[in-house]
Symmetry: C2
Subunit: 348 residues, 2 copies
């Protein structure tokens, strides 16, 4: 025998299925006494409404979706005791939490799905069939798929490429790095700075580098043409980049600005081993504001990103679009905040 349905509850309560449905949909418009009868019948039977049936009948699932890149190596299952992996996805975790909370506040559940870049399309259309609206975090999706999906339901792009007709939220990468770089130049009087970037196809890292360039323009310093080195945004690659720069000929720069915190932390380790004082011999900065940045020694100066706000704002945009499908698309930029700490010469 299957699970109890509205029919079972209706029969037991001596009412029609419409009344049962009304009790769960909008309790007003049902007399209090009737509602009680229904609820207690439902309770006795252990009735749980079927979201599928509900969704089919009402053409809405009450679920929002979040697709994000899968950082983990699919082969690496079981070796998860290694903490590096956990650090890597940190970024996404905060977005997930922020989005979950905001979704719940609006009465939605959250469906999440990671995908490797090459399977982003399939995963996206699968998710699209299950939700009322979705957010895509820092991921490239085949335009054809994106087009189909976004014609079916509201989509908001988080920290990703500009897509015509889609709402979008980005973090102020450019502005944050601009501000931080000006701080090193103006407040600490450093004029010889180097930037360690990420891969060239990382829009975030590239925007940060442009902010770095812009600060030179703003202060009249010569424009750096390209990053002094590049990593892949991991701790290890930051360490490697630092070592590489140290081994180059010529004088050290006065400051080394990394495209993210993890690389900066890796560099701090390398510099400590080499006996290079931070910030005495060399100022170091990161970007992101991961918790780890506060704990390392010296504490890392960085730019804090409002990751959980990214998730929250995504929900707000989706909800706003549910209310008005025709509203003009928005592209919102979330502000960042400097976290000035010891590694640039500020604070303790």
């Amino acid at each position: 025998m299957g699970d109890p349905t509205v029919y079972d509850v209706a029969e037991r309560a001596g009412v029609s299925i419409a009344t049962v449905s009304r009790v769960y949909r909008s309790s007003d418009s049902v007399r209090a006494a009737t509602r009680e009868k229904v609820l207690s019948a439902a309770h006795e039977l252990g009735y749980v409404p079927s979201a599928s049936a509900r969704g089919l009948a009402s053409r809405a699932t009450g679920v929002l979706g979040l697709c994000f890149p899968d950082f983990a190596d699919p082969e690496a299952e079981g070796t998860a005791l290694d903490a590096d992996e956990a650090e890597l996805s940190f970024y996404g975790d905060e977005v997930i939490r922020g989005m979950e909370r905001a979704a719940r506040r609006h009465g939605y559940a959250l469906l999440i799905s990671a995908a490797h870049a090459d399977r982003a399309g399939e995963v996206l259309s699968d998710v699209a069939g299950r939700v009322d609206g979705l957010a895509i975090l820092a991921q490239d999706v085949p335009p054809a798929v994106l087009d189909v999906v976004s014609r079916r339901l509201p989509v908001v792009v988080l920290a990703g490429r500009v897509s015509p007709g889609l709402d979008r939220i980005e973090v102020a990468n450019f502005d944050g790095q601009l501000e931080l770089t000006r701080h090193l130049i103006n407040s600490h009087g450093l004029t010889d700075l180097a930037f360690v970037g990420g891969a060239e196809d990382s829009p975030d890292a590239e925007a940060r580098f442009r902010g770095f360039q812009a600060a030179h323009l703003a202060t009249g310093l010569p424009l750096p043409e390209r990053p002094a080195a590049r990593g892949d945004l991991t701790l290890v690659s930051g360490r490697k980049a630092a070592v590489e720069l140290l081994d180059r000929e010529g004088p050290l720069p006065q400051g080394l600005m990394f495209a993210n915190d993890q690389m900066a932390v890796g560099a701090l380790q390398a510099l400590a081993e080499r006996g290079i004082g931070v910030p005495a011999d060399l100022a170091i900065t990161g970007f992101d504001g991961i918790p780890l940045s506060r704990q390392v020694s010296p504490a890392l100066t960085t730019v804090r990103q409002p990751m959980s706000r990214l998730g929250e704002e995504a929900v707000e945009l989706l909800v706003a679009r549910f209310a008005d499908r025709g509203r003009p698309t928005v592209s919102r930029r979330l502000p960042t905040a400097l976290a000035l700490r010891a590694s640039c010469g500020c604070g303790v």
Copy 2:
């Protein structure tokens, strides 16, 4: 006009809706030529199958659920720039990721929902209506609700109370702490140890304390009756507990074992400020193996928990139960691993 449905695709491809359905369900049993016709028609129309209809017809949603405690202060929205919050839920993040990955491997999507303790029941039944099976992480749910839900679909309890008839996965809190404590006693010759616990209603922290006690039994040392102090598992409370213990009369213990890493890290800060050498004057240990534990100075000796495995195993148990609803319930205990580092006198 609404979104395209099987009917639209069927008409355009010149087949029946059953054939369209078969193409998406089980491509075999449809001739290759027919399948092509259907797929291209679907593509042209921008067809995306409706999960609700699918779920209703097939009585399965293809979604797994995860309910976990909501750590964040509901009022605190917007102040999320504070990184403490992020550290707090760290535990859950890894479980989410592990479960998401395993679910996807088995062809399921993952629905997540946090809930404050007092609303756990409602949230749970909401989620229950949307999924084929679900995991409850470290959360107490009203037995009545749990009963109803678990009669409807498979439920696995993660790091929670024993529930008759439900699959369950726990982490070897007792064994891990036992092993670590024996290490301090046997390898470092420490005989005067103190334990800083969590709240009394934290089953994890209590199990760890019992492991601490058991190690004394095992080595013939006098049995500590109760934790020397208690915190609430936050960094701040660990710091406070450390200060409190230092200010007590009498000699310091030789080692201070904390119920989790965050408290231990807080203690490390307090000790550093007081000029107390770790491990020279006092050995310190934590529990969990959060990434931060490796970065602090001295690196924290701790017990690593396989958090993402918790999520993965949850999926395995659910899938196994889908295959055989009648199989006996299992209670699995995931092994932990010691991470011996500087703060107990090991390593560098």
